[in-house]
Subunit: 262 residues, 2 copies
DNA sequence: CGATAAGTTGAACTGGCTCAAGTCATGTGG
DNA sequence: CCACATGACTTGAGCCAGTTCAACTTATCG
C-alpha cells in the first residue's frame, strides 16, 4: 500500500492521496471474492453467494507485484485470465522493429488476458505500472465452472463483450484524428472508471508515462505533453506531472466529442 | 448468385469470377449447419454431429439481403448474432457529427454482432456491401445451448476471443502511422481470409469503396487511392478499380510490416 | 547527491489532409 | 439500348497538425 503512495510526489497541491490509498482495494491476499469490495465490478456480478464460493475455490490470489514486473508475456502459453485487485497494469505488444505498442490500461476490478483465449497464447504482455496485486483465474477451470453455473457463463460472455466494445471504441477514437480528442477521451475514461470504483472522478494520478499514453493513443509523447499544456492553459485541467485535476468536465467532454464511452 | 457476379465489370482482365461465384457459400436457405461448407470456419467447429443438429434447431436462416440493406442498426435491442453465409458486410458507427466510421468488414463464415452482448444494444450498424445472406442465431438460445454443450461454450469463448484479438490488431495497425502499411495490411487480411475459404489469395474484389476503406483505416479516401496507385507503380499489386491482384506477396508483407496477423 | 528517466518546449520538416477539377463506372428512365 | 445523372475514383496543389530532432528542466531513486 505504502509503495503506491510513495510514487506520489510529496509536496503535491492535489492531495488525493488518502482516498487513493484506502480505496485501491485489498492487497490482503486472504480476502475472498465474496468479501472483495471489487466484487460489484469484477467477475462475480450476477452470482449468488453459493456460486461465488464455487468461483472462490478456483481463484488463485497472486502475490503483490512491483512496478515493472510482468504478469505474463506475449507468446507465452495462455493458462489464466487475471483480475486486477490493486494498482494498474498496461498491456503491450512488441512490434518487429522492437518498439512497444501499448494496447490497454487496466485498473482494479478489470480483467486482463482475454486476448489469449482464442489461440492459447498470450497476445500481449502485461506489466505492473505501480505496485499492484491480482487474482489469477485458471481459464479451463473457469470454463468447467461456467458450464455448470449459467449465470457465470453469462457473466463471462458479457465481460468478453465489454472488452470487444472497449477495443472498438479505442479503434474509432484512434482513427478519428485530433490529438486533443484522444487525450481528452483517455482522461474521461479514467475519470469514469474511477467513478465506478467510488474514487474521485475529477482528481487522479495518471498511471502511465507520456510515452505510454502516446503509444496507446497513436501520437508521440511530445504531442501528449503539448496537449496537456494546452488543456491546462485553457483552464480545462490542471496538470502537475502525473497528477490530473479536471477543472471543466463539460469542456473536456466537448473536446472528446463525448464518445458516450468515456 | 448472379447478382453478385453482376457487380463484376464485364471486360475485366482478371476473370476470377467463376471461383467467386461458386465458392461464396450457399444462398440456398435450406442448407443446414451440418451441410454448410462454411462449417469449418463458423460456429460449428469442434462440435460433433449430434451437437450440430442441436445448434441447427436454433439457427434461423435469413433471407437474401441486397446491397445497402441493414442487418441491424446501432442502438437497436440486441437479440441475435449473425453468421455470414454469402456476400460481405460492413459494420459502422455514426459519430455525433453525423459521419460514418467503419469498424469492421465481415466475410462468409464470420460472426457479426458480438459488440451487442454486453449492453443488450447493438454497438454498431451492419449493412450488406453486396447481395448476401446470413444465419441468425438468437443469443439467449445460444447461451442456453452453450450451458448444455461444453464444446459449444468453448467454441464461442474462442470466437469472442478472436474478435478481441482482431480488434486489437486493428488498433495497433491504426496507431502505427504509415498509410501504406495500413492498406497493405488490409489487403493481406482479405487475402488470408480468402485463403481460409479456399478462394484465391492473390486475386479478389474489394468489397468496400475507397471511402469505406479510408474510414476503416483512419485515412482519407484520397490517401487510399494514392496508396493503391503507388503500390501499382511499384508492381506490388495490380489495381483495376475494386479488382485486386497481388503481384508480389512478400513485398506486400514487408510493407505491412508482417504484423503476423494478416 | 548524482545519475538516469520523464517531461517540456522550440523550430523545422513532412505525410496526409483539404479543396478542387477532372475521369470513369454504374444504373435508371426515356 | 442509349443518354444522362449520380456516385466512385484519380490526381494535383497548397496547407497544417503532428512528427522529428534537439536542448533543456524536473522528477525519481539507488
Amino acid at each position: 500500500m505504502k509503495s503506491v503512495a510513495k510514487s506520489i510526489p510529496s509536496g503535491t497541491v492535489l492531495a488525493k492521496e488518502p482516498a487513493y490509498a484506502t480505496r485501491t482495494c485489498h492487497t490482503n491476499p486472504s480476502i475472498s471474492c465474496g468479501e472483495c469490495r471489487l466484487g460489484e465490478l469484477c467477475l462475480p456480478i450476477a452470482l449468488d453467494a453459493v456460486e461465488i464460493t464455487r468461483l472462490d475455490e478456483i481463484v488463485k490470489r497472486g502475490r503483490a507485484l512491483n512496478k515493472g514486473e510482468y504478469l505474463y508475456r506475449e507468446g507465452e502459453e495462455f493458462k489464466s485470465i487475471y483480475a486486477i485487485r490493486a494498482g494498474s497494469f498496461k498491456t503491450f505488444k512488441t512490434t518487429q522493429d522492437g518498439t512497444e505498442q501499448v494496447t490497454g490500461l487496466y485498473l482494479p476490478g478489470e480483467i486482463m488476458g482475454m486476448d489469449g483465449i482464442s489461440s492459447n497464447r498470450h497476445g500481449s504482455s502485461a506489466i505492473a505500472l505501480e505496485t499492484g496485486s491480482y487474482c489469477e483465474i485458471p481459464f479451463h477451470q473457469l470454463e468447467d465452472l461456467s458450464a455448470r453455473i449459467p449465470s457465470l457463463q453469462g457473466r463471462f460472455f458479457r465481460l468478453m463483450g465489454q472488452e470487444i466494445v472497449k477495443d472498438q471504441q479505442m479503434l474509432t477514437l484512434v482513427s478519428s484524428n485530433a490529438a486533443e480528442e484522444r487525450v481528452a477521451a483517455l482522461l474521461l475514461s479514467i475519470s469514469s472508471r474511477n467513478h465506478r470504483r467510488k474514487l474521485s472522478s475529477t482528481q487522479f494520478r495518471l498511471p502511465m508515462t507520456r510515452a505510454d499514453i502516446g503509444s496507446y493513443l497513436g501520437v508521440t509523447l511530445e504531442t501528449v505533453s503539448r496537449v496537456f499544456s494546452r488543456l491546462q492553459k485553457q483552464q480545462i485541467v490542471k496538470v502537475d506531472n502525473k497528477e490530473i485535476q479536471v477543472l471543466d468536465m463539460s469542456a473536456l467532454r466537448r473536446i472528446a466529442k463525448l464518445n458516450e464511452s468515456a
